[in-house]
Symmetry: C2
Subunit: 325 residues, 2 copies
Amino acid sequence: MLNAKEAVAKIIREKEEVGGVKQVYYVGCGGSYAAFYPAKTFMEKEAKELKSALYSSNEFVHNAPKALGANSVVVVVSHKGNTPETIEAARISREAGAAVIGLTWLLDSPLVQHCDYVLSYTFGDDKDIAGEKTIVGLLTAVELLQQTEGYEHYEAFMDGIGRIDRIVKNACEQVKHRAQAFADSYKDDKVIYTMGSGAAWGAAYLESICIFMEMQWIHSACIHTGEFFHGPFEITDKETPFVIQLSEGSTRALDERALKFLNTYGKRIEVLDAKEMGLSTIDASVVDYFNHSLFNNVYPVYNKALAEIRQHPLTTRRYMWKVEY
Amino acid sequence: MLNAKEAVAKIIREKEEVGGVKQVYYVGCGGSYAAFYPAKTFMEKEAKELKSALYSSNEFVHNAPKALGANSVVVVVSHKGNTPETIEAARISREAGAAVIGLTWLLDSPLVQHCDYVLSYTFGDDKDIAGEKTIVGLLTAVELLQQTEGYEHYEAFMDGIGRIDRIVKNACEQVKHRAQAFADSYKDDKVIYTMGSGAAWGAAYLESICIFMEMQWIHSACIHTGEFFHGPFEITDKETPFVIQLSEGSTRALDERALKFLNTYGKRIEVLDAKEMGLSTIDASVVDYFNHSLFNNVYPVYNKALAEIRQHPLTTRRYMWKVEY
């Protein structure tokens, strides 16, 4: 099986005869959509020529961009390779002449037959963080840029990949006690907000929709720390709980401003600080893109403690896989 | 003062000597961010070459795309022209050599001095819907496309603009009674979700963050109807209220699927149906982009009724304009 670098190289060679790669679309649902958020922000910030966008799969299927065609690369992700909307997104993309890269954990899945290249990723308790779907998604973006326009921080990015696993595993140890305290304090709450910005916004989104809403049936919303002051902050009081990410990198100032406000007018605030958790050892030119992997792996320490104390296992569902929808 | 078409024409002429317009960025905060959502989806779907993105202003300021420069157009919006992050976004854009179009209601405002072209829009109770900021934002996108790559549905779009005012005003009459019933039924709720998709997602986002959270201090989140089945739908029960938009156009199937689920497993559901409200008289090729203007003007009928019955005026704030932040 090819890796991201090799798959991208083959696509770029194949696309030469039709004028090269001009657009890249990232497509997935829910947690997979969130996992591609860093790739979206990477392309949006770093690419000078390549067009890009991130779509929830069914939006892509029903509202596909008119540029989708022979000059496009579509990167899809489905954990078990069986999400119908994502399979359909891959199918229509290939039909339109795009090259399709599929990320999936289960290599023997329906998604695979609609992809030109399949990339696997690590998953589970002892996974290598550097091989997770978020990083593999990012690598498709980094390689697409590097192998077309060039990416000036390519070496720094690869160096970051070499560091992320240790940083994350140390951080998970570091938060164990505070995760337990969080679970004790928040176990009876009916609403918990998450907050974040930049490339890490997707981690806050995932925690909100896939954990609090889906796995704990707690009301939730994900608030962008820059948007907070333009509406949502009026909800702040001494009772309402917020989990806020302080990213390391470009948008930290946004997160710090929101935290300062929360510390003044709120009371029940849980802070995930990427700097305190050691992310700053990754070069400043690329650190933005590693926040997601850190937060997204630290949250489960909190989630496990919360599920246990609430006696609401993270696997409990009332609708998913149980009813028709 | 120039209109959108004239301003875009001048910019395109000016940019000829540096290689033309290659990127367009939409930048605003909160309700203004939401108002640009249709323009974002328009560019994302219709443009084959032009790069585009939508940013919350402070994210743009701290995390500006590297492509920002002489080939860029930046369209900013601030209702009173005094939002510091948006002013700063305009300032750095001009400094980078971009052409800046500023949308504002107050023409004598700090924003104006950082813009190359200023566009005004209609506002207030009897405004012409065709002149609102959402439509003016869309027009900058439509004109940028038409005057560069060309836009095959340009005439249909202009025809839609000629129809939207009457459709919206009829719809506002049409929902008066149900808005009152909504207010009666939902007045004591602590959480209300909004849902939408496609170009209209921004209207659901605005209702969630600017009305329920900001103006009524009701907990809320905006759920994409395509994402609903990948996490959020587990929150559904007979008690939890949802306001769901059924858009007319490409993504209606997503909204209908979510509504079908809600009708089966939920109970407290308020439906805003663009088809029922007469939006289908606008041509199918462009109707997607007019859903926002419809929903965004129908919501206030509900909001007024809700605020009155809750005795919580829409102007009430505890932080905005009152404390430092």
